[in-house]
């Protein structure tokens, strides 16, 4: 009798909507190890926070996130993605931080008929002619980060600037993007190696060039080392610096401390944004993970919220490909950045802000937003994309 009851209830459970037993799988390939590991960690945690807020669902549909570390190696990323696509039959992928990994992985994902929602990397070859109907970017287009620095330098009235970036594609794109908008003269350029640890030689050159200000794109561990040595060399008080937020994200700020004071930063989201979605996100993130969210975390969170809006529109059935895509394109969610919409290449059309690093109320350095520098900014490649 007892057995019968158990069987009966098991059958009854199975009769519940199939959705409940069959979560939507999301494949996340991201960078969790190495000096850039904290970036993937934050993007992942931001993404998972949105799921946690909905009690394990996104847009009412139960989801399961499969996470793998690419270790900043394109080959590793490719392998993980292949596993997700063939073994786990994943239809939605996200997570990649670095553009060189994205360039290796994204074509595979799209070829397999799956969707890719980028929460960070947005290399130019997928933004113009190479755009794809199943490829969405929530963060930015890579160049726009640096165009914003150019706009900020114009606002601050710098005429002669020195530019510096690592010697790889994203570094070259960075300086190109900066020059596209900056109206003054670039008096010197340095491409340092990606695994550089001592910048003494470069600092001596910057000192000798006597620029009005320095623009540098040194993300992650490079940025920490560079900012420390810049301050130690006594340049901090003589040469101002204008950077995009990856050179001084909230973690780097925690690591370099006062050496970052006075930096001019540009970004599309910061912890001090005064809108309800942003405030709730910061409070929730700090409560859950006991640390300040980085902008990367906000991108992960927004990506999950975008996905939630689309899953809701199709009732959790990703098989309705066209409806799902149309729903994604609508971007019917409240972003922590405020307004959010996609351009014709499915990259965001968004506002950029400038802020300064100042001492916060607790004595620790923080970024304080001072101005909006670009409104509804569209990237330079969107016009070449015909979907």
């Amino acid at each position: 009798m007892f057995r019968l009851a158990v069987t009966a209830s098991a059958v009854a459970l199975m009769a519940l909507p199939a959705m409940a037993a069959d979560p939507v799988k999301i494949g996340m390939v991201t960078t969790l190890s190495g000096p850039g590991g904290y970036i993937g960690e934050d993007a992942r945690d931001g993404f998972k926070l949105a799921i946690q807020e909905e009690g394990g669902n996104l847009g009412g549909a139960p989801v399961q996130v499969l996470v793998e570390d690419d270790g900043l190696k394109p080959g590793n990323g490719k392998q993980s993605a292949e596993r997700f696509l063939t073994n786990d039959k994943v239809k939605i992928m996200t997570g990649i931080i670095f553009s060189n990994v994205a360039e290796a992985v994204v074509p595979d994902v799209l070829e397999a008929g799956a969707f890719y929602l980028s929460l960070n990397a947005a290399p130019s070859n997928f933004s113009g002619k190479g755009c794809n109907k199943n490829y969405f970017v929530v963060s930015w287009q890579n160049d726009t980060l640096h165009e914003a620095v150019g706009a900020n330098a114009n606002r601050l009235g710098f005429k002669r600037m020195f530019a510096m970036a690592p010697n790889y594609q994203a570094g070259k794109d960075a300086i190109a993007g900066f020059k596209r908008v900056f109206k003054g003269e670039v008096v010197g350029e340095i491409y340092n190696s990606l695994d550089q640890t001592d910048f003494a030689a470069e600092l001596a050159q910057i000192r000798a060039a006597k620029p009005d200000a320095l623009y540098q794109f040194e993300p992650g561990g490079l940025g920490i080392t560079f900012l420390k040595q810049f301050a130690q060399a006594g340049l901090k008080d003589t040469i101002p610096m204008a950077v995009a937020f990856p050179s001084v994200d909230q973690r780097i700020l925690g690591a370099v401390g006062d050496a970052a004071l006075g930096l001019h930063v540009s970004y599309h989201w910061n912890t001090d944004f005064d809108n309800p979605a942003s405030k709730a996100f910061v409070a929730d993130f700090e409560k859950t993970y006991s640390r300040v969210p980085t902008t990367y975390a906000s991108q992960g969170y927004d990506t999950a919220r975008l996905l939630a809006s689309a899953l809701k529109a199709v009732g959790g059935d990703v098989g309705k490909t066209d409806a799902f895509r149309a729903a994604l394109r609508k971007a019917d969610f409240v972003s922590v950045r405020g307004a959010f919409k996609f351009g014709q290449n499915q990259h965001p059309i968004e506002d950029w802000y400038a802020g300064d690093v100042v001492k916060g109320a607790d004595g620790k350095p923080m970024v304080k937003t001072v101005a909006k520098i670009l409104t509804d900014h569209v990237d330079a490649y969107a016009k070449d994309c015909h979907l």
Binding site: P35, N167, I190, S193, D198, A200, A204, K228, Q229, Q232
Partner: protein
């Protein structure tokens, strides 16, 4: 002129850091015949211990002592537990085992300290810049590193050329089997040599902390250049390590600093920067190739 002097000093200072790492590596490789890829991990452990203690106590001296102690203790433990079993094995086994140690230490450090880099401060007394003759202002801390390196080189010279231990070390480098046959306690000698190498790596790590960021994998970044140094200098030779390290430090810095400027005279700015950037990252390997063509066993080969 000042720019040239400043870049020369930068090159020397980089060379000194390389020397501290290379001295230990070359002794271990030359005397014990052991390829130790995990030498960079000892450097990282020294840096972490120093940064951690330095931030907690605020004392630079305690930080350095902690870095030295942690690296030396780890070195001795690793030698006794793992490496001792590998001396008679093939180099491939040593490479595999010590590569495993790298993974072990990197993961261990990220469990202990997290993935976020640590931040160590230059001590207040050494934080300023000194005005050198000619009006160049150079950070005191970097000058202190150079002085420390010179001190260590002098100490190693005395130790190796003028003490009994040094005699055994030299003998071990050239006539390993004879030393053993004469009844010297070879395992103890090996442990001592390895411990000394670890100590020097720890010193380099704890001094590098305030300059660089203390992070997982920092040892591997510098390890490859360290191998270049000992190959150029001649494996097993401390004198070779000094010369090789200074050469590599100077060439790397000078090419990085001046090549793009020189190329700008003959090509456009953007291509000068990318060619210069590309060339400066291979310049030390080119140097190694040239030295090896000229002297296939390095500048000061230890094994006659």
């Amino acid at each position: 002129m000042n720019l040239l002097l400043e870049q020369l000093l930068n090159g020397l200072q980089f060379g000194v850091m390389l020397f501290l790492l290379a001295a230990g590596l070359t002794l271990v490789f030359g005397i014990m015949g052991l390829i130790n890829l995990a030498h960079g991990s000892l450097y990282m452990i020294g840096a972490y211990a120093a940064a951690y203690v330095g931030v907690r106590t605020g004392s630079f001296l305690l930080a350095i002592l902690a870095g030295l102690a942690a690296a030396a203790a780890t070195g001795v433990a690793v030698e006794m537990i793992v490496l001792r079993r590998l001396y008679r094995r093939d180099h491939l086994h040593q490479v595999l085992a010590t590569f495993g140690l790298i993974l072990f230490f990197n993961e261990g450090m990220s469990i202990l300290f997290g993935r976020q880099p640590l931040f160590a401060n230059v001590p207040a007394t050494l934080a300023g810049a000194l005005t050198l003759p000619g009006g160049l202002r150079y950070p005191v801390y970097r000058l202190v590193i150079m002085a420390t390196g010179a001190g260590v080189a002098g100490f190693l010279y005395l130790l190796i050329q003028h003490t009994r231990i040094g005699m055994l070390v030299r003998a071990g480098a050239t006539h390993r089997d004879m030393v053993r046959a004469l009844g010297v306690n070879v395992p103890l000698l090996y442990t001592a040599v390895f411990g000394l190498g670890a100590l020097l790596a720890g010193l380099a790590g704890s001094m590098a902390g305030p300059l660089l960021s203390v992070q997982i994998g920092m040892g591997e970044q510098i390890l490859i250049l360290t191998f270049v140094v000992i190959v150029i200098g001649g494996i097993g030779s401390v004198r070779g390590a000094v010369i090789g390290a200074l050469l590599v430090g100077l060439v790397d810095t000078m090419v990085r600093a001046f090549l793009p400027g020189l190329l700008r005279g003959i090509m456009s700015n953007a291509s000068a920067d990318s060619v210069g950037g590309g060339f400066s990252s291979i310049s030390v390997y080119l140097l190694m190739a040239i030295v090896l063509l000229w002297r296939p066993r390095g500048l000061f080969p230890a094994h006659g």
